[in-house]
Amino acid sequence: MNRRTVFVLFVLVLGLTLLQGCAAKTAHRAQAGPLGTAAAGEEEAIPEDETYPDSLETVNRGIFAFNDGFITHLFSPVDTVYTGFFPQDVRNGFGNFYRNLGYPVRLVNALLQLRLDKVAKETASFALNTVFGVGGLFNVTRNMPGLQSSPEDFSQTLAFYGLGSGTYVVLPFLGSTTVRDVVGTVADSFLHPLSLITPDSARYALIGHDKANTASANLPAYKTLKEESFDHYTSMKDVYFQYRRGLEQE
């Protein structure tokens, strides 16, 4: 099965799930009374309960538990070696480099969403970070308020055109996502410069390093969330949806 076939399959799955998602969204809106939008008096501040589509919850919880075991018993000890070997500044440099490299993805999706302000910001940031940040290793635009822009991706583009997220999915090793985000990630990968690298082994090594480096940076937050939560799975799902919905609105 080549990558194009995989992509077509994902689009088909997305289509089906989005139909479900949209229907669920409409039903949810119809149920949500005026309480959610604030009324007068004592009940004014009581918000409606959040609902996130999770039709695969049983399976998701199983994979989530597997991933948590993987993170705790394998990734975390390896991460201790990794962070001991590469100082924080070097790891930040890796992160900056990969983020800068993802410019085509952010550019095309900003264009698709007609966000010309973001197109300009992303382009200026990419140029400055590539030239003055040694190929993107240093994020020289980080403290330039005029150039800050939340990253766009294909899943957000689909949301922009009215498509729902589809159900929540927990993937082995890769963790939280939604059906729309899976499709978005696959579509974006075609635009990512790393996908052009040959041979395959070098490409997968770099993509793997990018993911692992990001996961390493997020590990302390993951541990804190686990420690402070009552229901780790629900807490993680909520963080994922809140974060992604926040990006969609920016």
């Binding site: 309960d49 403290n143 939560s229 229901d231 629900t234 909520d238 809140q242």
Partner: protein, 192 residues
Amino acid sequence: MKRLVLFFVLFPALALAMTSPTDYVRTNVDAVVAILTDPQLQGEEKKSEQMLRIESVVDGIFDSQELSKRALAQHWKLFREDQRQEFQKLFLELIKHAYLKKSIAYNNEVVQYNQELVKSETLAEVHTVLTSPTVNMPIIYYMIRRDDSWKVYDVSVENVSLVKNYRSQFQSILQNSSPDQLIAILREKIHE
């Protein structure tokens, strides 16, 4: 001048009106940072004193009723008055602990106050960015005006609201548990 002083003595609410939500957050954040960077309070043996002092600042920042009401959402109505009181006390304790833990990780970050959105006479948002050499982290303080001061009823980091996150979890727990059981779970968590 005397008249002016008398005016403010008689109308403290008007004097208070001059304290903006941003000023309130800034004053408290500055107080916490001052304790964290106080040379007299460095070192392991001073840790507990440092924490006690931060706790005394944090004690008054949050509005426990609003925090709880929003975290329980529709379930708030199912709680009796005594259960509400108990829940408020424990939930505030939990939020305070989380805040204290995060403050220990303080590493010379600087807080920038970017925007203040006044939503109504009683509600406001203070948009800040926590900047360190490695990350810029947007933090929003959601404020409610009580009789004598502004109070924080939610904090969001990178668009993720703390109270909403607890709401999702409480909602999931309350599907199969009673308010008393949730209160017991909360108590257990605090004593972990």
